[in-house]
Symmetry: C2
Subunit: 818 residues, 2 copies
């Protein structure tokens, strides 16, 4: 791990130049090395994906050390020191942003919001590809190496999911169980647990955290899979530390040594509660600040325009600002700027008290703890400055378009806040609070643990951060304070702001179904009929291929409703778009066309053989002729034919275009040379044939029809619809009335309806159609149901008029299908 | 806590007599006191239900102490000692069994299987009543006090749920949010977490355990409610220990003091894995043994008959057997028989090594640990005997019909097994395994923790026992060994046997939907049409009240399908049975009857007033007359009328019977005395009137109709049906084909289908109808779908013949409705 021996004898100038040039190369090489190592190991066992993740961690440490050594080696000149301190992160972040931007922009950001959306059942394109994997891994390595306040939890989740997805894809080559679609979702859910689990060596917390941030309804049968995967990932992660001789045995990542017999006094509980409540407000503020920055940059058109042109300028500027402020000889000395995140956390969780005022023996700040002790400034001021500066820096840094998370910075800020409260308590009660003789001094480290769990819980709206801190510190003695603080922080934060991940989902406009607000849903009286799309594109059982073709051209829905007839509108099932395309291409496809041409050719041949010689022995000759002819035909008729081609293929989707081209070759292939001149005529004949084919009735016999598409009734409430959509992971549902299709609701409409009525500011915008129902109903369920009942007959009468459609005029039914 | 001062000076004989007489009284008084205290406190705060639970715990300790003291005071005579040792638990268990049997038999057993069923959405009658609460609390107190190997986790869950249900019922008096049905389910889910949480002072483990054992799909939004409730319950539970001066501050229940710096060596991991695998087999064996005992007793008719007569004999006999074997001067000396469960656990989790052979200083068995050290017998023999004896004893004891769980006994056995392995390891490697200079001796207590988590995890099929042990011991240092052992134990146990709770569900035949076997469900090609009931009872939109009446008499379904007509069979919605009953009683009810009678009376009166005097001034007189007349009428016409009454009311449900009686009074009330003699005639007229009323068409205007009952299609697969039923907690679903009702599937049919195809022994019994589909299909999904497609047209043709029902003969439709 000492590949960066100090070579301070070399000229500084040279070194500086070298370093700016070589850093990109170094980073690339390093990343490549790690990737290689990771790749090699991945083949050993499925679960060893944690190995790679570990490697990044080490790589990061190595880089941090590089920066520090550089900074240390330049002690003589503050300006050069500053240059070294600042340039290093700026280059790394810029490289990371550029690399990610070029290779796979999907790799930017945390990954948890996207995984939440994917686990909901939505397919995000390009999100789980190998390209994204490479971009995420290298981008994250550089981003973490820069020493900016960025986290790795979200990206780890994404990387683990990428591993799972690629593995699934690879395994599905061998068939078997991996071909199953639902199995893939289970793999992804387990991968999320692995991501969190090996980030903190916290298997239990990992599983719980991943459940909380990614699921709405969790299938308990997936539970132990998650545990299995996360345990092995954490195990391998920590075992490597042992094999590497860093540790003697497997222990916690940030091991604390608080006393076991009397971890805290009951009378300290109010202080823990205060931490919880304050963290709740802080967490909400963080989410708000983060969103504000993103929205500010988006809205400011001049800034936006400028930044769109120079995409790498924004990351560079932010990094410059942050690293300038943390420069240790500058402002950084007042906020322990020279410590990395890991070092800060280790010192903050220390079990000794920093500010011992009453007692003679003061705390001797040794090692990294020295950074907190400024000769002129009180440790409290350092802590306050650290919290305030890191707070906005983290909120700002997480908006940089590089692969990064926000969990770890928030965690550290929370720990600092807890430490601040703890130190204050220790200063207030130097002998502890306990009154029964024995002196149990207050442990500020315990407060730091509580603060870390509370603030990270508030930002992510999770309770399982409590479990994560236990696993991270290896001590569970503060369980009750942690639980109380986390619950209070959650209660406060959830009532003020969405979670950070939901906030990002909203910013990125991902297709996720938001939660219905609590306590409100009884009040909504929106029904499916208010939000459904009435103009459904459908096909009927007795339609012809031309209809199919028109429908395929018109809409972009993945599935289409199959109706009995456009008069009765009775829903028979749904067909996938791909199936219909297959049907259409089967009807107009190569084999049938060839068959037709062959039939025609033989008929022609017969006719011709009457006229000329019966040439049945010229088989081998003809082939040669054909090939030659083929080339010449294409060359000569190319310009002429194109017109026809476009006419014919214009109405079809691109695939028919290419197929038609193929047919051209085939035409020339099948026919004997003597029909050369007739080619143009034949092409028109083909077009005519195809027109005829299009008028034939569709044969659905070999088509895969879903006989049970999900159906709702027009009076299904928004709440019920939401529950069913989230439970079953639906994409769309048909609205039927007595078997007749009257509309369709997709995720889009539902999301609009929910967001429209649960505006962020608390103002409810109700859809226009829902208002008529207010008159006369007092809003209680009984009166609603009466309403339903009285309208039932009307409803029925309305439909009765439609129940014998054959007696209606054609114009009537036409109107309906509009 | 020292209410039982030894009074050994009193004559032993007298004391013995007194004790057998007074124990029941004492237990009752004690329970009453606890209940009172609990009741008083419950009013303080909602979450203080843990208080009561704590009290039971203390009550139990007090009783155990009583038994021990009694046993200690009788040292002079072994026989008397034996009598005292044996009689005490026998009386307590017999009382508990008798009390529970008399007051509320629903209180028997664990409670977790029932809660699992209730949370599934099934309503179990009498299961959440105040009576059950009383029976459970008192029964549990006595059962735990007996010192038998019985647990309290399951009953705590049940008690907490009872508290929640009663609280919900109480709060719903004030209206508001508590009236919501789904809110009650959420309350119950939180209560389950509270039950486990305050049993072990393990809030996180409690939440997770309750999720694992009670849910199939868990709504993540309920998660933090559970944490909130469980944290406060655990907090109050432990805070009371502090206020009681038992503890200085809040710490873990079974605090361990393993060393933190080197908890275990990596090379010990195989030993932990062995514990996990062995525990998996042990857990499966326990479940099997438990079920075997229950089934054996049920099947043996002679035993069964005898036991049915003398219900209390079985508990008494079992208790006698178990307590005889644990009698400390007898066989109990070889198995630490004199320790209570809690004492055993504390000693087993001790961080010192019992069997130190290589090193000079032997472990001095002090305090309770002495029980493990027999002068003649090795500690290994003691442990083995303890494990073997306790194993079958626990399996037997949990079949006693008293409120009891099995978690705690299993937990203790697991700890003993872990300790056995740990001690063996310690004996094998006296200096520890670590080779790098420093000696880290093996900690058998850590093995005990691992064993406890693994065995209890195997029996309950949960992973969260790992979290419970961390919270229970206050140390998380053994996280990886525990996780590995628990996962291995689960993997083994889940492949061999159902969990203990599922086993009990099967034994008790509770209406729970079993899980679909893993990896099998692709193979089932059972569809809804194979299992649905085709003979659906329904009502039509234009039916008359007589049909309603007949339908209500015929079936016992909670909801009925509402169809357009019996010819078209188009499903309009579903109506609750209660709604229909209300409709019927509205039609034939008092107000309308009175109105009819009044109309008739005024008509009569007018007719009469033509004849006799127009008596409009005799109001006050008439009232008196009426009252007198009323009594006489009832007396005189009583026997005569009864015949008519029965004739009329026979076809109705009981409620009409009583109403008719009321009508009799009203008849006499409304009419003036002079119609006295006409009463009999009028009664017949009423019957006639009612017959006419029954022939009227039903007016559904004021009826609450569910317009969107859940619909399936006949080709929906079993797997999909199962998922939808478990996700949405459905009770039944209608099977429709193009809007027409063709069948209904309820939980019962689904359960039969699943159990038929996933037989316990691994033999699949397939429903008869599913076999025809085998011919021609290779079982893959693609060929299945082709099958679907080819049959679609047939299907459609079949229904086409039904689509114009008005042209059909009536006989045709009659056939269909059969």
């Amino acid at each position: 791990m000492c590949q960066c021996d100090p070579f301070s004898l070399e000229p500084l100038q040279y070194m500086y130049g070298r370093y700016t040039q070589e850093l990109g190369v170094y980073a690339k090489e390093e990343a490549a090395r790690l990737r290689e190592e990771g790749g090699r190991r991945r083949s050993v066992t499925e679960r060893s994906r944690s190995l790679e993740l570990l490697e990044y961690d080490k790589g990061r440490c190595a880089k941090c050390r590089t920066q520090k050594w550089m900074y240390g080696g330049l002690e003589s000149n503050v300006f050069l020191q500053y240059l070294a301190w600042v340039t290093y992160p700026v280059v790394l972040i810029t490289f990371s942003a550029g690399f990610t931007q070029i290779l796979a922009p999907q790799a930017v950001g945390s990954g948890i919001p996207e995984m939440k959306t994917i686990l909901r059942g939505v397919v995000l394109k390009e999100y789980l590809t190998f390209k994204t994997f490479v971009a995420k891994v290298i981008g994250l390595t550089c981003a973490l190496g820069s020493g900016m306040p960025l986290g790795k939890e979200g990206p780890f989740v994404h990387i683990a999911s990428l591993c799972a997805a690629l593995l699934s894809k690879f395994m599905s080559l061998f068939g078997g169980i991996y071909e199953n679609e639902s199995r893939n979702i289970e793999m992804l859910a387990a991968a999320c647990a692995v991501g969190v689990g090996c980030c903190f060596a916290a298997p239990i917390g990992g599983v719980l955290f991943s459940i909380e941030v990614t699921s709405t309804f969790f299938a308990v049968r997936n539970y132990w899979r998650g545990f299995f995967a996360a345990t092995f990932s954490a195990f391998i992660f920590r075992v490597l530390a042992v094999w590497n001789k860093d540790e003697e045995t497997i222990t916690a990542l940030f091991k604390t040594r608080f006393r076991l017999d009397f971890p805290f006094d009951l009378q300290e509980l109010p202080a823990f509660a205060v931490i919880g409540i304050a963290s709740g407000f802080g967490g909400a503020l963080f989410v708000y600040l983060n969103r504000l920055i993103v929205q500010f940059i988006r809205k400011q058109k001049t800034i936006n325009k400028f930044l769109m042109k120079k995409r790498l300028l924004y990351p560079a500027l932010v990094t410059l600002l942050v690293s300038t402020l943390t420069f240790p000889p500058g402002f950084g000395q007042f906020m322990a700027g020279k410590l990395t995140q890991k070092e800060s956390l280790v010192t903050l969780l220390d079990n000794r008290t920093w500010a011992k005022q009453g007692i003679a023996e003061g705390f001797d700040y040794i090692g990294n703890s020295q950074a907190w002790n400024h000769p002129q400034v009180n440790v409290f001021v350092t802590l306050v400055l650290f919290i305030v500066m890191k707070f906005w820096m983290s909120a700002l840094a997480t908006t940089i378009p590089v692969p990064c998370g926000a969990f770890m910075p928030v965690f550290v800020i929370g720990a600092a806040f807890g430490r601040l409260v703890g130190e204050s308590m220790a200063a207030w009660f130097p002998d502890g609070i306990h009154s029964d003789g024995t002196i149990y001094p207050i442990v500020p480290g315990g407060y730091a643990v509580v603060g870390a769990a509370a603030l990270s819980g508030a930002v992510t709206h999770t309770v399982s951060t409590a479990v994560i801190v236990f696993e991270l510190t290896g001590q569970i003695s503060h369980i009750l304070p942690v639980m109380i603080a986390v619950i209070l922080a959650n209660a406060v934060a959830q009532s003020l702001q969405p979670s950070l991940y939901d906030s990002i989902i909203r910013i990125k406009k991902l297709p996720y179904l938001p939660e219905l607000g609590w306590g409100h849903h009884e009040k909504y009286n929106i029904r499916v009929e208010d939000i459904m799309i009435r103009d459904v594109t459908y096909i009927t059982l007795n339609c012809c291929y031309r209809d199919l073709h028109d429908v395929l051209l018109a809409g972009h829905l993945k599935t289409l409703a199959l109706l009995e007839s456009s008069e009765s509108m009775i829903l028979l099932g749904s067909i996938e778009r791909a199936q219909l395309q297959a049907l259409l291409s089967l009807q107009l496809g190569r084999p049938r066309r060839l068959e037709y041409l062959r039939d025609r050719a033989t008929a022609e041949k017969k006719r011709l053989s009457m006229v000329s010689h019966p040439g049945s022995e010229d088989g081998s000759q003809r082939v040669n002729q054909e090939v030659r002819f083929q080339v010449s035909t294409v060359l000569t008729t190319h310009t002429e034919l194109n017109v026809t081609l476009y006419e014919v293929s214009h109405v079809w989707s691109p695939q028919y275009h290419t197929e038609l081209n193929v047919t051209l070759y085939e035409v020339s292939h099948v026919w004997s040379p003597q029909y050369h001149t007739e080619l143009n005529v034949t092409l028109y004949e083909i077009a005519e044939w195809e027109e005829n084919q299009l008028d034939e009735q569709v044969n659905f016999d070999n088509c895969k029809i879903d006989p049970a598409p999900f159906q709702l009734v027009e009076r299904t409430s928004l709440h019920k619809t939401h529950t069913i959509f989230s439970l079953l992971g639906l994409d769309h549902a048909y609205v039927t009335s007595i078997g007749r299709l009257i509309g369709v609701v997709s995720l889009k409409e539902l999301r609009k309806a929910i967001e429209g009525s649960v505006a962020v500011k608390g103002v409810k915008v109700r859809p226009p159609l829902s208002s008529f129902r207010d008159s006369g109903t007092s809003g209680t369920s009984s009166s609603n149901s009466e309403n339903e009942a009285t309208e039932l007959h009307k409803l029925w009468d309305r439909h009765k008029s439609m129940s014998l459609p054959r007696e209606h005029l054609a114009s009537d039914s036409d109107e309906k299908s509009q």
